[in-house]
C-alpha cells in the first residue's frame, strides 16, 4: 500500500480530521496524526489486512527547541508481510514546565515494544504517556533531576556527592 492509499484509508475510517498534515520533503514521508487518536490509528494500521503494520521499530521523543515550545513523538512502523515502512508523528504545544509534562496516549496495548520505548522517552525527554502500565524511569536512576535530552537541560553540579562535570 502506498503512502497515499494509507492516508485515504485512515481518513475514510476515522474522518479527515485525524490526519493533521504530512511531510513529504525528505526521503521518507511522514503522516502527522491528531495526538489523542494515535492509539486507535496504530491499532487500525496493525489489524487492517491491507496494511498489517505489525512491527513497531522505534518510538522517538522529540524536543523541537526552546523557542518552538513543542514536544512530539515519532513512531516508526514496519509491516513484515508487505515489507513496507511508515512514519507517524504527533506533537503538542507545551510551556516546558517540569510540573506540566506534554502528554500523549500510550500505545502499549497495541505494541508491547512501546513499553520500554515510552519509558525511555519519559526518562530522557520528559513526555508523559497516558495509560502506560508502569511509567518509571528506565535508564537514569529514580531520583535523577530533569530530563537530559531537553534542549534547556543543565547538568547539576553533584549527584549523591560525586561531581558530575569533568
Amino acid at each position: 500500500m502506498s503512502f497515499e492509499d494509507i492516508k485515504l484509508l485512515l481518513s475514510e475510517k476515522f474522518g479527515p480530521e485525524v490526519i493533521i498534515g504530512e511531510e513529504t520533503g525528505g526521503l521518507q514521508p511522514a503522516l502527522l496524526i491528531e495526538p489523542l487518536r494515535i492509539a486507535e490509528v496504530c491499532l487500525e494500521l496493525r489489524n487492517n489486512p491491507k496494511t498489517y503494520f505489525d512491527f513497531l521499530s522505534s518510538i522517538t521523543g522529540v524536543d523541537y527547541g526552546i523557542e518552538a515550545m513543542r514536544f512530539g513523538v515519532v513512531y516508526h512502523l514496519a509491516s513484515i508481510p508487505y515489507q513496507t515502512q511508515l512514519t507517524l508523528k504527533v506533537s503538542v504545544e507545551n510551556n516546558r514546565d517540569l510540573d506540566n509534562l506534554p502528554s500523549f496516549p500510550s500505545i502499549t496495548s497495541v505494541y508491547r515494544t512501546a513499553d520500554w520505548h515510552e519509558r525511555e522517552a519519559y526518562d530522557l525527554v520528559g513526555i508523559f504517556f497516558d495509560g502506560h502500565p508502569d511509567l518509571r524511569r528506565i535508564l537514569l536512576p529514580d531520583d535523577w533531576d530533569g530530563f537530559p535530552l531537553r534542549k534547556d537541560y543543565k547538568t547539576a553540579e553533584y549527584y549523591k556527592g560525586i561531581k558530575i562535570d569533568f
Binding site: P141, I162, K163, I164
Partner: protein, 158 residues
C-alpha cells in the same frame, strides 16, 4: 646442615615479609566483574591466547574471595554506588586496577556524558591505571605486573 639430618630436601631462609608478599602477588584473584567494552578485552586476557592464569590470576565470582577489583568499563552514576559497595565487600588487603580511559577519566564521554562518572577514582581509590580505549590484553597484563611490583614493596609485618 648435614645430609643425614634432612635427606628429603633443602631449607630456604627468607624474611617473613618477602614470603607473604610472594604468596600474595603470585595469586592475585580479581573479581570477575566487567562493565563495558573493556570487559571483553578483560575476558580475552583470560582466554586461550593471553592466558592470565599463568600469573596465578584467576577470576572469582564473589567479592568476598577477591583481592583485586578491575574496573573494566564506563562507570555511570547508577553504577557508582554498586561499585563502592563491591569495593567495601572485598577483604583487606585489596587493590583496584582502573582499566581503560572511561574509568580513568571519563574517556570519550568526558564532555557531554551527563551520566558518566569522570573517573572511578572519584568513588574508590585506584592503585594502577591502564590507558587505552579499550586497552589491549597485553596492557592489562602489564598492569598486573605493575601491581605485583607494588605488592613486593609492601610491609605487612614488622
Amino acid at each position: 646442615m648435614s645430609s643425614e639430618m634432612n635427606d628429603s630436601g633443602g631449607v630456604v631462609i627468607t624474611k617473613m615479609n618477602d614470603l607473604l608478599n610472594w604468596a600474595r602477588l603470585s595469586s592475585l584473584w580479581p573479581l570477575s566483574f566487567g562493565i563495558a567494552c573493556c570487559a571483553i578485552e578483560f575476558m580475552g586476557a583470560f582466554a586461550s591466547t593471553y592466558d592470565l592464569d599463568r600469573y596465578g590470576v584467576f577470576p572469582r565470582p564473589s567479592a568476598r574471595q577477591a583481592d583485586v577489583l578491575i574496573i573494566a568499563g564506563t562507570v555511570t552514576f547508577k553504577m557508582a554506588e554498586r561499585i563502592k559497595r563491591l569495593y567495601e565487600q572485598m577483604p583487606e588487603p585489596k587493590y583496584v586496577i582502573s582499566m581503560g580511559s572511561c574509568s580513568n577519566c571519563g574517556g570519550p564521554y568526558w564532555q557531554h556524558g551527563y551520566h558518566v562518572v569522570k573517573g572511578v577514582d572519584r568513588v574508590i581509590p585506584v592503585d594502577v591505571y591502564v590507558q587505552g580505549c579499550p586497552p589491549r590484553p597485553e596492557s592489562l597484563i602489564g598492569a598486573i605486573l605493575e601491581l605485583q611490583k607494588k605488592i613486593e614493596g609492601e610491609r605487612l609485618v614488622g
